[in-house]
Symmetry: C7
């Protein structure tokens, strides 16, 4: 109870340290990320795979309206988890940065460069007053000089580079699953399969093509591509993940 | 009681996260939406239907003065639920965006584009300090490249695309009603009937032409049209929804 | 008591939602309106009537100094109830808008247009921090394209159109009185009589010419006119409302 | 005690409404006015009289240094009661407005126009945050088109027109005295006598020429004139108000 | 104790009224003035005398470093009491105003004009948020059109004109002393003697030349002059105020 | 418990002193530094060594993504400990300052000059409101006029020059280790060995090449160089620090 | 305990007065000064001596990195005590002011002029909101027109001129020591000896050349000079202050 009272004191001040050197608002923003359904990134030898769990909440909602995989530039895809409206702000920011880079230097923006421009932007919202942190994490995947790269941004504004990673709900279980099943020499196809099986692993090993989005950037084409429902269905079938019945609602209303 | 005390701590700080990653002011703004009478959107094979429950509070009030269906552009209508004055701000914002699009690109704004411009605007009021969130939800319906589209915006700034949806009071019951009765191959006429029956379903299956507004954007004309009282009366009669007596006041004074 | 404590929490934050989706500061501003003496608007077949109860507080105060009926433009009158100094701000705002309209478009401003410009202005004070809401309601009456129009604005910034309406003290009783006695085919003279009898109804059916202001905009002249004391006395006599003795002080010092 | 706690909540927020629609800071500013010694205005058939009780606190203080009657323009005098430093701000504001009017329109400013410009200025300090209300009331007297006019401004920014009025300490008693003894056909001389007797009435019917300031604007000269000590002594003698001994200190140190 | 709690509520809000119409921050700033050692002003028939008690705290401190008498312009001296650093701000402000007057109008600034420019500046710090009031009082003495004038400013921004006055510590006793011993026909020499004896009266009738500053503006020369230590010693001897032993430290560290 | 309550009072106000003259937010920011894994700087006779403990948290995370050693300019390296996102801000600031110096003066920036520009920047965040202090410490090492220099910055904005120093976790033990083992005549190779053995000393004297970053600026080349994993492995082997098994996770998620 | 609660109320509001007229934040900033090790200034007949106790905390820290004596201009030195990072801000401010004076007037800035420019700058941080006061005191020594001058600035922004003075830890004892041993006819050499013996007096009469900084401005050269370690050692030897063993750590980490 005392701990609770103490914590409350730090809730109200957005950008201040607690006596043990923590930023509570940033940690609470991480909770907003956890409230969203999971997104997964897998770096394979042939390219990067982004997959997002977006189990539709209502049969009347357009499944495409729950956007968790976004094209940031020709060669870059971004998957998000957490507060949807915040994600849109960062995606827009990323797209503008990518465009500016093409205009200014006549070449596609580097994956690491884009990631760090975004995390610097996020950091400002954790240090300067008058706004709250972003309640969203991103996976930024693309090809840079022919090499697949996969980055994560978190609400503190820290960039991380990964071979395979999940953000959002069930991160602990999903990360364990990825560690057990990841191999650096995966093909892009195998990467898609790994991502889908990981998502299904938190759902009785079942998956519905409408309940998941998949995007890839292959090293060959250097182009971000979103898979069609039919393509996803094929992968689901190949991986024996067909659901036996409809999904329930999942996650928070504004956090995907 | 403790929970209550804790919650209060987050009421005062507009744009901060709670320890479990929620934004209370946004959730309270959703309550303001629920205090308004319902609005319903139905996407049919022939166009989009918007209908709004506006049961007049006083026989001396002009029924037309309670505006819940608005024309945003020639090809786009918007229905609102919640804080009326806030709704007007967003409608004005939408109209300006639509005009700017025509001036800048010489063509009508896309329904999705308009929706996301509005939700980005709404999001700003949930992250940057010095203002409260918008206490209103919108249904944005129109024709884009010949195809009917129907979107919802909520106080968090999240955009959703729907086949049929309700905002405002009784969303749970109305959404159930729509799920049971919606078919994708509805004609525009059938869509109007479905919307009116849904609204009536929360009111002993009775409806008064003066107590409901209906607007449509048909795929043929690509034009937003508001139905006259006579036209609405005809639909009410066709659907056996005539009231046996006058309506009481309903809803909050500033929330429709 | 708990409820009270909870309410206090929302008093201090001007522009935030309560857990049930209400804006307390706006509701308290409505109380400021109720503290003012009543104003009444009646839309007749021949024009609009505005009447205001302004029972003078002291025999030494100039009755004309308590202004509750104002000319906004040649064809528009405005009656107010609530915080007097706030009313003056909105009346000035209305006059500037009307002038700008004449300068810009060479024609008188529409009644609905003016009303909504005012309510949008009022809304800003309920959403953006750094100021309190306006503690005043207005009745805006005038002729638009030959048709009498009567609007109300409230502290939330919501516009309403009415056939007959009262703002300020005793709204419940006065509205009942109007509902019982209003007819759409009233002449302007009958409208004046109805307004005066309504005001008198809350005062033992007595009225003093110095204690009431009356303004009209007739459809014929399209001109706002304030009645002289003699004219008002005639109407009082015609309606058998002469007082038997002097009025006491009434209402709040700064709320009319 | 509960009432007190509740009140405290509203003290801290300058520009917010209490649940019963009151603005406590404005009401407290009125208390600051009451802490000042009284000023009195009397409109006579021949002009306006302003008189101010300024009982000097120390024999070493220059009586003229306690300024309560000010010249705003050739034809306008202003008497104040309350916070002295605040009064000076408003007097300076009034003088600038009067000068601007002469420069812009080549004619003296109207008394009502000046009053309302001042009250609009005062109102801003009650609605917009970042400052406290003015803790002072003014009496503005002058000749407009040959007619004497007398206005009061209060801390809420409400303008009132009066035949005779007092501001500051003992308003209740003084207003009663004025109501009993005022006649519209008073000469300017009789008006001065009435004002002095009123002030003396709260002080055992005694008055010292050094303890009171008197200014007049006669309809004939249309010029604001301050009476000399000798002239005031004559009026005191004529009205049998000579003191039998020296006055004590009175009022608040910064409120006159 | 309740009174204390209530008072605390007003401490935090700099520029707000208490329920009884007081501005606590201004009253606390007056306490800062009282913490400073006294300054005294005496207006004689031949000019103005300013004297300041500055009993040095340490034998190693340069007595001249404790500045309490300042030259504002050729014909104006200013004595201060209270927060030293605040005094410097106002003295600088006064000097700039005096210079601007000479540049703009080619003549020395009037004593009353300068005083009121300073008090208007002080008032702003009591009404507008974001800063605290000035914790200092000033005595402004000089010759205007051949006549000696002596003004006081206090933390509320109120100007007072005096024949003789003290600010800072022991004001009650000193003012009594001055009232008993002041005569309007004092010579400048007698005025200096009165000021020194007054200061000595609060210190066992003893005074040290290093512990007091004296400045004069004589009507003949119209020039501000600071007395040398030798001159002060002579006056001390003439008035039998030689100390028998050294002074102790006195007053607050930053308040003189 | 009382102490705790008192401390809380200072947590909320970012830039204020406690009664004993401390700035709690700065002290809490130092705790954020301690939450990060250690970085070590060693100044040798031949150049400067920077080493950072970055024990990877997950086998799937790219070890290079945890950046703790940064190149600020050709001749300057910076090691950080604490909040990663904050470190990035300061590193960017340092790089811009170095570039500006080359552009403006045509020569490399001095190590002391760069350090003090950074600490002045950090100090601003501890004095001016509206932001929190930086939760990071830096070690800035380089060659200036042929001489190796090693500086530390802390969250208060104080610069320190060191012969050998550690920041982050285990500073007490590491500093003791360095004091016991440092010699001014170390070669660059010996300096690298000392740094690695120091880091290993807090970890059972074991180290993994992937779990540590090493950078040097030799006096000969005046160039900042990061060691490859192979080079680090060699040093680890030479110093008998090979780990017997994998490292666990260490430190805070956003603090390195 | 009550006193403590009351004090807390004033901690949070940076720039407000307490009921007894004190500025707590300024007093707490003085505590920050006391947390720093002492600096001493001695004005001799031949020039000014500045000496600073800087007992190094760690054998690995460069003694020169703890800067407590700074050159502000050719003829001015400044010693500081308190918050190191704050001191740097004021030193930079002083250097800019000195440079501006040379550019603008072509001559070196006066010692008093520079001191008062600095104290006016410090005062602003105690009156205007949005920042905390400076937690540092300065001794400013130099030659002005051939005469040695020695000034002190404190966190309130008050300037003092001294013959000999100490700031920082042990001010009470050190000031007593100086009062007992100071003579106005000291030579510069004797002044250095006095300063060193004073510092040693708080440390068992022992001193280490690396633990103290000494700077002088002689009247002959009018140039600020810092003594080398060897020179200091000689003075220590001459004054019999050689330490028998190493010093422990002393003072606060960021306060010197």
């Amino acid at each position: 109870m005392q701990g609770q009272a103490q914590q409350q004191a730090y809730d109200r001040g957005i950008t201040i340290f607690s006596p043990d050197g923590r930023l509570y608002q940033v940690e609470y923003a991480r909770e907003a990320v956890k409230r969203g359904t999971a997104s997964i990134g897998v770096r394979t030898s042939e390219g990067v795979v982004l997959a997002a769990d977006k189990r539709s909440r209502s049969p009347l909602m357009e499944p495409t309206s729950v956007e968790k995989i976004h094209k940031a530039d020709d060669h870059i895809g971004i998957a998000s988890a957490g507060h949807v409206a915040d994600a849109r702000q960062l995606i827009d920011f990323a797209r503008r940065q990518a465009q500016v880079n093409r205009l200014r230097y006549g070449e596609p923006i580097g994956i690491e460069t884009l990631t760090k421009t975004i995390t610097d932007h996020i950091q400002q919202y954790t240090q300067v007053g008058g706004a709250r942190p972003f309640g969203v994490a991103l996976l930024i995947g693309g090809i840079e000089n022919g090499t697949p790269r996969l980055y994560e941004t978190d609400p503190s504004g820290t960039p991380y580079e990964w071979k395979a990673v999940s953000i959002g709900a069930d991160r602990g279980d999903l990360q364990d699953y990825l560690e057990e099943n990841y191999r650096e020499d995966l093909t892009l196809d195998e990467g898609i399969g790994l991502a889908l099986r990981a998502i299904a692993s938190t759902n009785d090993d079942e998956l519905d093509a409408g309940g998941v989005d998949v995007g890839t950037v292959s090293g060959e084409t250097e182009a971000f591509v979103e898979l069609t429902n039919d393509e996803i269905s094929e992968y689901i079938a190949e991986n024996d993940l067909e659901p036996s019945e409809d999904e329930d609602e999942g996650g928070d209303e504004t956090a995907e």
